[in-house]
Amino acid sequence: MINLAYKEIKHTFGKFIITAIGVGMLLGIVLIMIGVYRGMIIDAEVLLDDLNVDLWVVQENTLGPFAEASRIHEDLKDTIHTIEGIKSSEGITFQNLQLPQKSKMIRVFAVGFDPYGDINPINPDRLIDGRGLKRSHYEMVVTDKTGFKVGDKISLGRDIYRVVGVTHGTVSSGGDPLVYISLKDAQELQFLYSNARIRNDRKRGIKTLNSHMINAVIAKVKNGYDVDEVANSIRRWKHNSVYTAKEEKKILTQNLIKTAAKQIGMFTVILVVVSTIIIALIIYTMTLEKMKEISIMKLIGLPNSMIIKMIVQETMLMGILAFFAANIFAHLIYSKFPKRVVLETPDAFGLFIVVILASILASLVGVKKVISADPREAIGG
């Protein structure tokens, strides 16, 4: 039996392929959007995974440093350390900084920690050049995305910092490159006012805030102790909020990324709907162009099933080709995006299912037109 779809596509091959590539590029954007979402999740978890701590102690009634402002006294880390079951505890700060590089400023997310402490957020596996922090002042480890190299000097606040190490793949939950500085430097940058401000405050009778503040205490629990039980014993003080690593991850992925995910989800759904409409319009136009032939086929006695099969096969092939074009297109451009884009096979498989469903839906438009085609239209003209 003659395969009408194959014959028709062969006859209009160039046009068919170009159309499929066009639709594929649109579907490629859908894949990229999903990839952006996946990238956000991975980015959000980089710092948490590198820290690998069990507990986060933050300012009372706050969700912690990634969700909202949290300020607690640095000495809380020592108090936490005395709690039964705590193996180690350290103070940590987080802040956004603008680093001057040649003629432009680079926005980074700075992590302040004690280089001599028990918990070091720099994952040695991610260190691609230089070393970690070894001094309490004026050293900085940067991520390669910032463009700085070991030995570079960066002017920040009142001081000049030297780059001692470069990491790869370290970003904040917001996608900003991570830099690491000592806790003392971070406290000065975040909490120490300028001399003029201090003098002004003193004259106003305002007691100057001391700079021995941190954003959170991170702690590891001894083997054999239940993390939730230790967290509960800290919560009993009622002056701080405590989150386990699992809860902190949930705050990051569900509370912070939720809105962005919804936004991306909306875009993805709209793009899929637009793609379906475009495929449907293409199939409708392709069917319209063949109406005379369809009328002749019906007139000479070809059953509807054969003509419908042609339309459905063409639509499905269009969808499948567009899907492959989408994958090629997405893989060609994903690395050009400034933020992490992660293309995963399950997502591509999901898109394939959606494309097949969209193609079936789109083919209905052509099928409806076939059924309504009047064989009498083949006569005359």
């Binding site: 003659i2 006859h11 059953p303 009498r376 083949a378």
Partner: protein, 238 residues
């Protein structure tokens, strides 16, 4: 019905519209066409020639009357079968004013499309198609696309397509309208030869009176009825 009768029409009526917009095109047409006959159907424009052809071809539903195709009564005030398209596919061949070949199929695929749909194998269908194309002198164009053939070659391919399902009836709607006199005569002679050699009843709608002397009989739509005209009346035109 006589075993030699391919088409028998009785009191066929066709009306379009309702109420004030009702138009009666055919009213009480009755005639027969025998196997092996080439019959011309003539009438002024708008008189209902194509409508009559489409009713015989089970495309247009009549308002009332009876239609016999071969020994099968297909219409009696309603279609007696739901499979009118199957009747077309198996019993009728269509030839149009233009060739109307499927542009994305080559000539042999166009000719074998209906036989294959009717269940013949590809090999059997192609054997029939090659014989037909050879008969019409275009066997060497079997694997060419319609776009690469001349108008005359395409029209011959279209006639081959109409014959490929070995029909009992061929309905030709102005098959010579787009051809010059010489080619028109060739095509009508070819249809007559087919009618005689393959025992097929052919009704050919035409405006070209010069083609009428080549036909066996002439049917004319007059006052919404079908009447016979003498071929001899048109002999001097040839």
């Amino acid at each position: 019905m006589s075993t030699n009768t391919a088409i028998k029409i009785e009191n066929l009526v066709k009306r379009f519209g309702k109420g004030d917009s009702l138009v009666e095109v055919i009213n009480g047409a009755s005639f027969e066409v025998k196997k092996g006959e080439l019959v011309a159907l003539i009438a002024p424009s708008g008189a209902g020639k194509t409508t009559l052809l489409m009713m015989i071809g089970c495309v247009e539903e009549p308002t009332s009357g009876t239609i016999w195709l071969g020994d099968e009564k297909v219409y009696e005030n309603r279609w007696l079968t739901k499979q009118t398209r199957k009747i077309r596919r198996e019993k009728i061949g269509f030839i149009f004013q233009a060739h109307y070949l499927i542009p994305f199929l080559n000539i042999i695929e166009n000719v074998t499309l209906i036989p294959q749909t009717n269940g013949l194998s590809k090999q059997e269908s192609e054997k029939i198609a090659i014989e037909l194309l050879d008969y019409f002198g275009i066997a060497d164009k079997a694997y060419s696309m319609p776009s690469s053939l001349s108008g005359g070659q395409n029209q011959r391919a279209a006639i081959a397509r109409a014959l490929a399902n070995k029909p009992e009836i061929i309905l030709a709607d102005e098959p010579t309208a787009a051809l010059d006199m010489k080619r028109s005569v060739d095509v009508v002679k070819m249809l007559k030869k087919i009618a005689q050699e393959q025992d097929v009843a052919i009704i050919m709608v035409t405006h070209d009176e010069a083609m009428l002397p080549l036909c066996d009989r002439i049917l004319k739509i007059k006052d919404k009825k079908v009447v016979s005209e003498e071929v001899s009346k048109f002999q001097d035109l040839h």
